[in-house]
Amino acid sequence: MITLEATYVLMGLMVGGIAAVNARDATNPRRWRTTAFWTLYALLFLAGSYLPALVSGVLVLSMVGVAAAGLGQGTATSSTTESRSASAARWKNRLFVPVLVVPVATFAGSVALKGLTVNGRPLVDPKQATQIALGLATVLGLGTALVMLRPPLSASITEARRLMDSVGWAAVLPQSLAALGAVFAAAGVGTVIADLSTTYLPLGTPLAAVIAYAVGMALFTMVMGNAFAAFPVMTAGIGLPLVVQQYHGDVVIVTAIGMLSGFCGTLMTPMAANYNIVPAALLELRDRYGVIRAQVPTALILLVANIVLMAVFAFR
């Protein structure tokens, strides 16, 4: 059975390559710190499955230490404005092909891989099919780009380095937040919050309970960075016992819109790093919270809309 391990090896090789390019780049003012950071990250991909948890933890802490001291970015470029304009004029819309290969192949692959069996066993773990398909699709996209554009082979890694270093340590943030979520869960943070909210919130009317549930979902999602982590806690604490059982709200409407209220929180929190912080880095915004700022008005209006929908339709 093919597992995610294969894609982790690919990631390890790519990140290792990025470290090597940095090690050879004298234009990076923080050359060795940047090299150390990506070397440690590559190690966690290649060996993470075999290392004792404590060793992995120490490696992660070392990465964080290096990142806190500050990473740098080299200034060397492999193309000029002129060369890009000339190439764009030559390739025209065919340039979009390698880029679009990735999402299309990811989708096709995730559908195909789920159904494939060898000797009655699934070829890939169905739960990991999409992630494995994404890994395969990027290889296909890279192959297309290399065959079509015929760049020097080293350009694939120097270009990956250029993009990865513009994202910097933010690239690792989603994983650290997942780890924080695991610690929160082990420490019982969710139950403490649920107890607090049911003890101190005014929940005397159906409308108050609806507002407490929807706003609670949004706020707790902002804290955890993930509506999936907030949903069981807030629904067990307020949604089911109060809105549904005490005030006879429709369970389908309450839980469906409760989850969507959580998504409003996702739009407003730096804890949802892969949606809000990583894109800001990827788009090279000066304001790290620029994406969140752009989303807050939409999120607040939608939260109010969700409360109104729940209050109007759940108690008919």
């Binding site: 350009a155 420490a187 994406v291």
Partner: protein, 243 residues
């Protein structure tokens, strides 16, 4: 009361750390260590837990494998071409480009095609350069703040479109989570019922975010004018100002 509240110290660290704009990676790690220790675990055990969870969630980083592809095609003029394509469409403005992407993202997500979008795959190489290019063709060079606002709205289009589209699809994670949670509590619901109640919010999300994007065009025009006026006022070659 006090010992029960102690695990919340991690949340306090996160809120203060993010508000002070400290290095987010450092803040998150310290919050994790503090929470673990505050809940009575030994430091080495907390470090091990943190490391294990970090390793187990490596799958969220697989999307970075797309960087060599994007980088190579950018090197060959992808952004330049994206702008040229948009330049050929007279109707195009930044806001309209983003509304079209929002609609595509929401509809494809509602059909379960969440993997067709994404910040690394679509927004950075295609959507953001197209929106920027459309604004530039209409207004000339853009002030930096305006450029950043357009890019940030492009990222927002991807998020809003996906979050409020995917729940309309019956087999998506969030619908299955709700169903599983209710089942544990002895309540059986059909995924289709849950997905149906995601539709009103999905429509409102499109109306609200779509409107904000169309308003973005006016704001861009206003900011470009204001910037031009400021440049003119400070330009040395206006002798009328110095009689």
């Amino acid at each position: 009361m006090l010992p029960d509240m102690l695990p919340l110290i991690g949340i306090l660290i996160v809120v203060v750390g993010f508000a002070l704009r400290l290095n987010a990676l450092l803040v998150v790690t310290l919050a994790g260590l503090a929470t673990g220790v505050a809940s009575g675990k030994l430091l080495p055990d907390v470090i091990a837990l943190f490391g294990q969870a970090f390793v187990e969630s490596r799958y969220v980083a697989i999307v970075w494998l797309v960087l060599p592809v994007i980088g190579l095609v950018e090197r060959a003029g992808l952004k330049e071409r994206s702008r040229a394509v948009i330049g050929g469409i007279q109707m195009a403005t930044a806001g309209r480009v983003l509304v079209v992407y929002l609609a595509l993202r929401q509809v494809t997500s509602a059909l379960g095609l969440v993997s067709l979008g994404g910040h690394a795959q679509m927004v950075r190489p295609l959507v953001a350069p197209m929106a920027e290019g459309a604004a530039e063709l209409r207004h000339g060079a853009l002030p930096i703040a305006t450029r950043e606002r357009i890019k940030a709205m492009a990222a927002g289009a991807d998020n809003v479109g996906m979050f409020f589209g995917e729940d309309v699809f019956v087999a998506i994670g969030s619908i299955l989570l709700i169903r599983g949670f209710l089942e544990q509590n002895g309540i059986i619901v059909e995924p289709l019922q849950l997905a149906r109640w995601a539709i009103p919010t999905a429509l409102i999300a499109f109306a609200v975010h779509g409107t904000r994007m169309l308003l973005l065009d006016r704001r861009v025009a206003r900011e470009v004018l204001a910037d031009a006026a400021r440049v003119e006022a400070t330009a040395p070659d206006t002798p009328a100002a110095h009689p």
